[in-house]
Amino acid sequence: MNSHAEHATDAHGHAHPELGFIRKYVFSEDHKIIGVQFLFTSIIFLGLGGILALLVRIQLAWPHAEIPFIHNYFPDNGGRMPESFYNMCFTMHASVMIFFVIIPFLTGAFGNFTIPLMIGAGDMAFPKLNMMSYWILWPAFVLISFSFFVDGGAAASGWTAYPTISSVAMPAGQGLASPAAPGSGPGQVLWLLSLLCVGVSSMMGSVNYITTIINMRAPGMTLYRMPMTIWAMFITAILQAFALPVLTVALILQTLDKTIGTTFFLPDGLSFGNWSPEVGGGQPLLWQHLFWFYSHPAVYIMILPSMGMVSDILATFARRPLFGYRAMIYSIAGIAGLGFIVWGHHMFQSGMDPRLGTGFMVATIMIALPSAIKVFNWLGTIYRGNLQFTTPMLFALGFVSLFIIGGLSGIFMAATPVDIYIHDTYFIVAHIHYVLFASSLLGIFGGIYYWFPKMFGKMMNDNVGKAHFFLTFVLCNCTFFPMHMVGLAGLRRRIPDITAGALEAKLLPLNEFMSISALLLGLAQLIFVANFLWSIFFGAKASQNPWKSNTLEWTTGDPVPGHGNFDTVPIVHCGPYEYGEHGDKDNCPQTEKSTTPVAAH
């Protein structure tokens, strides 16, 4: 403990000379500023990803109509959206949402902001590395934004970028245009390079989070006194550190295939139109293994931090101890562990040996267990509570309610024979959006409303927040729930015109309903943006601990602490969840000695 104490004092003990604007707010080494930087960029990319999604929805509901606003770009097509443009829209929608929105929101914004504050540290272990992890994203932003304007447009072979459509290239020296699809030319190369930068950024973050959590906890902050948010960030960082190198390798191999004519993913004997690549010898399935070896753990990277934040928010506003704290930790660890051996469930129909499919199926079905346990524990937490329906609480409850749906639909797809039918249909799209939009993103909104006072010293408007929640909750179900049904009816994913197939054409009315809901859902997010920006400048002043929460970030002197966070090193005396009856108050901050043994169970 002693060395921890010294370290923390040390971090604070540095004299902080007044920094200039650039060092303070732009190239900042303060984890709070870096967190807020991640937050702003993620919100901006959420807007871009959202617009792409709405283009997709418009095309799906009105496949033969002129596209509003941008029809002038399609003069050859009568103002209607060309198929390749549609493919680009959904590819870039998913890529942006996953790599530039959800991951930077969770590990970038919240990981940075919460970790040192909640463990009582002055900053991250490696502040400069932390700064780099943000700024290395900028090349990624530039590359991905620029890719929309290159020949053939941005990447269009799905966020999964399966070879050979993504990777096949003309012989070296003949330019980057792809014989397979227009978007698989220079746009694909920029996509690959951009993701490489994102990976480097995440890796820097992970190293920092792991070190900080292991080394820099305040005295008394034992591992089993850490809030769930921190546990989730910790395990997520470990997941990321182990999984990312594999994605990096895969991206590099595909980049080489595309640029210098290697054939890691290109087998013998293919032909595209009249042209055949002369060399082959590669294996397209290899990409899928490498990609999913990263991307399945990545889907947990995209939800575990949200689960952690939701756990903290639920306990705070239920005024109850988190039910089954240890079981919660073990189930996150279980999800993370199992998460490494289930990647093949994305490849049941891929041509992989079907016996291997059976193995992956068993692991995948069993991963539903820790997910179920978490749901039961959240229900146990609000049981006998004194529920305060603040905006963050509503988003957390919304998370629980909708994660149930996303988890249950996973079981259908994990069942190999059923997956034969629903693989690559809208059922999968429904699943994705229940876990990523209706769960992760709701958790993110909850986190923003919850920590906003700590970030900006102001409160967000609660009534406007509730309106935002109401519309988001209702409309996201209207948008995504019917996808289960159209998927079961056979609607394939990734098609721009649903009137081509015998099974699909009759689903047009339901598609229209989903698209109108999606447009309204998009509009409802403007309420959030307005509330967010307005509150930064004109919001009511926040008190030091507006939610009467227990965790350390609410014990800093000022509502928004300066660089170094704590005036004196906090000493931790109890776990984070002592809510309920404590004599005359109903909470017990971690810096105080526990008064009643509420946490007996």
Binding site: G324, P354, L397, N477, R492
Partner: protein, 320 residues
């Protein structure tokens, strides 16, 4: 919105989802009728999981909504429930259990594990029957196991089917043992007299078929939703796909002088959507992916299939 209002919002929304899902079969937003021998196993497993997840959904959402209602903060600030309040009478018998958190946690770990294990074991066999080569290998020794064979090569954006000539096909059927080598070479080695057809898969009722699936450019997916068949075509590989059609959907049309599909043998309708069975590519393969759609024609018996094959052969010769 009052504090209790939120539980109503959650309850109503989840109820709407549940009702929407429950009535979808009536609205036609549901799986089409399965028309292959293994469709029953796939659908049966689907309904098993449907039942299990429906129960889990109802229990958890109902509890969530009840708790949100019951424990909502009261306007006068008093806790919604006294700290030492007992359980409602209908739960009294379980009081000791409910007070023991350790037991509760054990219960809600063990019960779902068992249910999940049941789902695991319920499916192993169906998957093996559908996809394992060991269960589907055709040794060519018995006529009734001799399969219809079709080589399907996918490309942007169509399905190219290759059938054996009628004479060769008859030889296989008549003398399986003697023609075994030739029979087994069909998938890999094209013949000069093979019959080539685009986007039409012809088979006949109640007879197993094996499709030798390849692609010459990018990944496509050989997706026959009505048959519960889906298999990606992987560049550089030939992948076998087995199934057995169980319903007829085509007949000879005198006026058009060709076989037409979309025909319900029992019904009167000429063109019935329910009897139009697509081969709808299910893996993104480029701009034309959405319209890479072929059709399955299931003939009523082998004789009719042979008749079609001969006509297709003649047409091919005429064209050359």
């Amino acid at each position: 919105m009052g504090n209790k209002g939120w539980s109503v919002l959650f309850g109503v929304t989840m109820l709407a989802c549940a009702i929407g899902f429950a009535v979808s079969p009536l609205m036609g937003w549901w799986m089409p009728e399965g028309v292959s021998a293994h469709a029953g196993a796939v659908d049966g497993l689907f309904y098993l999981i449907y039942a299990v997840t429906a129960v889990a959904f109802i229990i958890t959402e109902v509890i969530l909504v009840i708790f949100m209602w019951r424990y909502a903060k009261t306007p006068d600030g008093k806790p919604p429930i006294a700290p030492n309040a007992g359980f409602p009478t209908f739960l009294k018998p379980f009081e000791s259990f409910l007070n023991d958190h350790h037991k509760i946690e054990l219960a809600w770990t063990i019960v779902p594990s068992i249910v999940l294990l049941v789902i695991v074991f319920a499916q192993v066999n169906a998957w093996a029957e559908i996809k394992y080569a060991t269960r589907n290998r055709n040794d060519g020794t018995k006529v009734d196991s001799a399969r219809a064979q079709i080589a399907v090569s996918a490309r942007q954006f169509e399905w190219r089917m290759r059938y054996p000539s009628a004479a060769r096909f008859k030889g296989w059927m008549a003398e399986p043992a003697a023609t075994r080598k030739d029979f087994e070479s069909f998938g890999k080695i094209p013949h000069f007299d093979d019959v080539h057809v685009v986007n039409e898969l012809h088979i006949w009722k109640d007879h197993p078929v094996v499709v030798h699936l390849t692609t010459r450019d990018v990944i496509h997916s050989f997706n026959l939703p009505n048959f519960r068949v889906k298999q990606d075509a992987l560049p550089g590989k030939m992948i076998p796909v087995w199934f057995t059609p169980t319903k007829v959907n085509c007949k000879w049309d005198e006026s058009r002088q060709r076989y037409i599909d979309g025909y319900d043998p029992a019904g009167k309708k000429e063109k019935d959507k329910e009897y139009t069975w697509d081969i709808a590519c299910a893996e993104l393969c480029g701009w034309g992916h959405y319209r890479m759609i072929g059709r399955v024609f299931v003939h009523k018996d082998q004789a009719e299939f042979l008749d079609w094959l001969q006509k297709a052969e003649a047409e091919g010769t005429r064209r050359n």
